[in-house]
């Protein structure tokens, strides 16, 4: 017997799987087993119906004991499916699991060929390559790395809030970082939510205050992550906390400062109200804001000039704050460094910029609104206290709601935004309730596939809202006949009736689609994630790993992954929290040992490998001037191995000897 590794005889067991008829129908498995039996070092060679079944695995274990096997090769399906199964079986049989090699004769052979003889010959060649290779395998060790129990949640919309609370309730410490002065995200702006029409504030506010009060949650609003280093279980994150010019610990949220500001009336456009309302330089975004802490806008505050402190104002706010001493005009931004083991990204979405579709007249005609603006307009705590008063000072008697604005359109965004049909119907209902206007929905297809959604559509039909199937061509203000004078005219084909119509209305609502944030690419780079072509963060598998990313330990929740409604965002947030808990409660992660390492003696310190590593796992040891690969970050892609000019990088499981033997085996002519 060959002494390949110098320390022991190589005794190989070979198993070829029939996979029912999946393999056996195209490959003569018995012939393969017979052929392999005659190869050097092979002690046992068998075919079996289902190798992955319990009896199949037991067969391997039994043979290991009986024949003193020390190498196993299974020729079956893709290693993606069962490599783990067989490694465990081999380990249970008492061998190092890396003395195993898997050969794919299903996806690579039986499924893709039509000639049985040739497919059989190919299976033999593949098997032979595996036999040659496995002889060279070395025992490897699975390393365990501890997982830091704290979690970072980025983005405090409903998804981030739900994930943070789930984790906090299970006793984990959570940092929740939110860019805006308050958490709540888009949901905080809504009046009601479809399809049940429950009041958004009523269901969201309790969760927001729970976040604010929970002892396990550190809430950093008005903050952003600026840097992330490390790897699963051990991330080092830097968070920038923007100055609010108000000390969070000292502010009680009494808002005396706001009423005493030198500006007696609110004067500046209020972003929370989609610029429909006004606020003062010192403000709190909305009554239920969490944290209940005011902030000062240095762009408009008299005490600043273009953001720079001037001390020009007599500062009645400071006086009003009195002994609380919460206002601090000298506050600077702060950088906080934290360590966490897992991260949940829940940065949400932004709505489509309607300026990209000028044919709908937004900005040109004052009575054209975006859906978010209407959410504020019908909201009892909105800028008009729920009165639908148009920009031109009238109440609308007829309203057109245009669906799919910036969705399903190759000229803008190709995807369906999934929630617009439903929220358009919600707004139709609310507008009808508030104004009793005649309401037209213009849609391409009504997409109402959620629980209770079709029923909601039905309810709207019952309420007498018009549904016109047709994508609106344009919104104009020129009259064709006198009844159109002074109105906005929607020209559309009523595709179900097969006629072109001109419909004069007082108000137009644009149901804007959902799209990735403008800075999504930066966030993607920051957290080492991938994006789909449309710019939403990419999940590891669309069906089976929907909240995982390609970076271990980083999970996704909510609309940053794709447009979705609140129920789905919450479900996903729960799933992401559960995935994080799995890691935390396991306490450590196991690392595939197929990582690369640098043979220091041979490394010239040329640094060519460093920029090539897609996982930034390589650094230069400053003292030794040698490259160093962080095993925990290395994904075993092999890029550096191929690139190293001095050949001083070795990758476990892909050592030269292993790969060359495999190639030799493959190229050797197959007798028979």
């Amino acid at each position: 017997m060959d002494k390949v590794n110098g320390n022991h005889d190589v005794r190989i067991g070979f198993y070829v799987c029939n996979c029912g008829t999946n393999i056996a129908a195209m490959v003569d498995v018995q012939a393969v087993a017979k052929y392999v039996a005659a190869l050097p070092n092979v002690v046992v060679s068998r075919d079996y119906k289902y190798m992955c079944s319990d009896p199949g695995q037991e067969l391997i274990q039994k043979d290991i004991k009986e024949f003193g096997l020390n190498r196993i090769v299974v020729a079956a399906c893709s290693p993606l499916l069962h490599e783990h199964t067989f490694r465990s079986a081999v380990e249970a049989g008492g061998l190092n699991p890396f003395f195993f090699h898997m050969v794919n004769i299903r996806e690579h052979d039986s499924w893709v060929h039509t000639d049985r003889d040739e497919a059989t010959a190919k299976a033999k060649a593949l098997a032979r390559a595996g036999i040659r290779r496995v002889a060279r395998h070395r025992a490897l060790e699975v390393k365990k790395v501890p997982v830091h129990p704290d979690v970072l949640v980025v983005g405090g919309g409903i998804a981030g809030i739900h994930a943070a609370l789930t984790l906090a309730k299970s006793g984990k410490k959570v940092y929740l970082v939110e860019r805006e002065p308050s958490i709540g995200g888009h949901m905080a702006k809504f009046d009601k939510t479809f399809p049940t029409l429950d009041c958004a504030a009523c269901i969201l506010t309790p969760k927001m205050s729970e976040v604010g009060a929970h002892e396990n949650i550190t809430l950093w609003s008005y903050s952003e992550v600026v840097k992330m280093d490390g790897y699963v279980g051990n991330f080092k994150v830097t968070v920038r906390r923007k100055p609010r010019y108000v000390l969070e610990d000292l502010c009680t949220g009494c808002q005396e400062c706001i009423s005493h500001c030198v500006y007696k009336e609110p004067k500046f456009p209020d972003a929370f109200n989609e610029h429909l309302g006004k606020r003062k330089p010192v403000y709190i975004p909305f009554p239920q804001a969490t944290p209940q802490v005011v902030l000062i806008d240095p762009e408009v505050c008299l005490n600043f000039r273009r953001g720079v402190l001037t001390d020009k104002c007599k500062k009645p706010c400071v006086e009003a704050c009195g002994d609380r001493k919460a206002i601090d005009f000298k506050q600077k931004e702060e950088l906080k460094e934290i360590k966490v083991g897992t991260i949940i990204v829940a940065t949400g979405f932004k709505t489509f910029d309607v300026g990209r579709m000028p044919q709908y007249g937004y900005g040109r005609y004052p009575n054209v609104y975006t859906a978010l603006e209407v959410e504020r307009l019908v909201n009892a705590s909105g800028p008009t206290a729920g009165d639908v008063l148009l920009r031109d000072g009238h109440h609308p008697k007829s309203i057109g709601i245009i669906h799919c604005v910036g969705s399903r359109d190759k000229n803008t965004n190709r995807w369906c935004s999934r929630v617009c049909c439903m929220y358009s119907m919600k707004l139709a209902h609310l507008l009808k309730e508030h104004t009793e206007a005649e309401i037209y929905n213009f849609y391409i297809d009504i997409r109402a596939p959620g629980k209770g959604y079709e029923e909601f559509y039905d309810k709207l039909l019952e309420e007498g809202v018009h549904f016109i199937r047709g994508r609106v061509g344009e919104v104009t203000d020129w009259a064709f006949i006198p009844e159109e004078e002074g109105k906005l005219v929607i020209r559309v084909e009523d595709t179900l009736a097969g006629v072109v119509r001109r419909i004069p209305v007082d108000m137009v609502v644009l149901a804007t689609g959902l799209e990735p944030h403008a800075d999504a690419q930066n966030v993607r780079r920051l957290f080492n994630m991938s994006c789909g072509t449309e710019g939403f963060f990419l999940e590891r598998h669309p069906k089976l790993a929907p909240v995982n990313t390609f970076t271990d330990g980083i999970f996704l929740a909510g609309c940053c992954q794709s447009p979705k409604d609140i129920p789905d965002s919450v479900a996903q947030a729960g799933a992401a929290a559960a995935e994080a808990l799995v890691l935390i409660d396991t306490g450590h992660i196991e690392q595939e040992p197929n990582t690369a390492y640098v043979v220091e003696a041979e490394c010239s310190g040329c640094k060519s490998c460093i920029p090539l590593c897609p996982y930034t796992a390589i650094s230069l040891l400053p003292d030794k001037k040698k490259a160093y690969i962080n095993e925990a970050l290395c994904k075993g892609c092999g890029t550096c191995v191929a690139a190293c000019p001095s050949g001083s990088i070795v990758q476990n499981l892909f050592e030269d000897a292993e790969i060359f033997s495999e190639i030799d085996g493959l190229l050797e002519p197959t007798s028979v």
Binding site: P358, Q359, T476, D477, W478, A479, F480, P482, E485
Partner: protein, 311 residues
């Protein structure tokens, strides 16, 4: 810079006034033109309905002659020609099959086509090469107070919006503002005039043109400025028919908000080429600019305003 000039059939016929005003205006601005040697019909839209490939061959003959002439760019003032020449360029670029046929045909005339001659529109040239500031320098009689409905028509911004915005083009607005005019808000800037339907199917065709006229009037325009010989013809020459069909329709009285008046008499709003207006501001005579060729000549008040501004 010297440009090759492709007048196209209309500028020699019904749209003569366009050429008559364009040439002197460019001369004032020092832009030299050389009329394309033995140019042929561009292939225009009606031709495209019969045989697209042949239309392409016709258009490419012009492009190839322009290449041979050696000037870098080809000026095509008529919107239909501008579109057809550009469309042909796109088509040849996209379809190797059509290009092969075209090249073969061109060889019969010892011509080749390399695709390197940009086809330019006068608006583009005036705004982007000559420049608004330069044009302002030549204004002798600013047309102060003249209210214009700027009408671009469809084919210079659709489907290939190269030098101006497809929804809200502004090059002509900027040019005419530079010579003192005021633009009225005119949301129909790029709406179709009916094209050749005005002649073939008057009911729908004329309705398209009528809408454009009526809306310019209700928006308070004194004059409609156009860039296309066909648009100008449609808006200018069928007024009698439009009056017969729709003259009784009423519009809000421009002088009295609460009253309505029949639109008929108002339909005689002058429809001119933008180059005619620029020429007037440059101090060229009405005759030189072909203004007498319009069916509704620039009305006295408008011209009087011009003179009083000059005085």
């Amino acid at each position: 810079m010297k440009y090759s000039y492709f007048p196209g059939c209309s500028l020699k016929g019904t749209g003569r006034a366009y050429e008559e005003s364009l040439l002197p205006v460019l001369k004032v601005l020092g832009v030299e033109l050389e009329e394309l040697d033995d140019w042929n019909c561009c292939g225009a839209t009606a031709y495209m309905a019969v045989d697209e490939v042949k239309a392409c061959v016709m258009a490419s003959r012009n492009l190839a002659i322009a290449e041979k002439a050696g000037h870098k760019e080809l000026l095509a003032p008529c919107s239909a020609c501008y579109l057809v020449l550009n469309k042909t360029k796109h088509y040849l670029h996209e379809s190797p099959v059509v290009e092969a046929v075209v090249q073969k045909a061109l060889r019969q005339a010892n011509l080749t086509y390399s695709g390197n001659t940009p086809v330019r529109h006068p608006l583009d040239l005036l705004v982007n090469n000559v420049g608004i500031e330069e044009i302002k320098k030549h204004v002798k009689h600013p047309l102060k107070g003249l209210k214009i409905a700027p009408y671009y028509g469809c084919q210079i911004v659709r489907p290939y919006a190269t030098f101006d915005d497809q929804y809200n083009p502004t090059t002509m607005d900027r040019l005419l503002e530079a010579i003192g005019c005021t633009m009225v808000t005119y949301p129909l800037k790029t709406r179709c005039c009916g094209g050749s339907l005005t002649g073939t199917l008057p009911e729908p065709g004329l309705l398209c043109s009528y809408i454009l006229l009526k809306e310019a009037i209700t928006r308070g325009a004194d004059v409609i400025a156009t860039v296309c010989p066909l648009c100008q013809f449609n808006l200018d020459c069928y007024r009698d028919k439009m009056k017969g069909k729709w003259g009784h329709e009423t519009i809000p009285d421009p002088r009295n908000k609460d009253a309505r008046v029949p639109v008929g008499p108002h339909l005689d709003i002058p429809v001119v080429f933008f180059t005619q207006l620029i020429g007037l501001a440059f101090g060229l005579s009405e005759k030189e600019l072909g203004l007498q060729r319009g069916f509704a000549p620039m009305r006295k008040p408008a011209c009087a305003q011009r003179q009083s501004a000059a005085a």
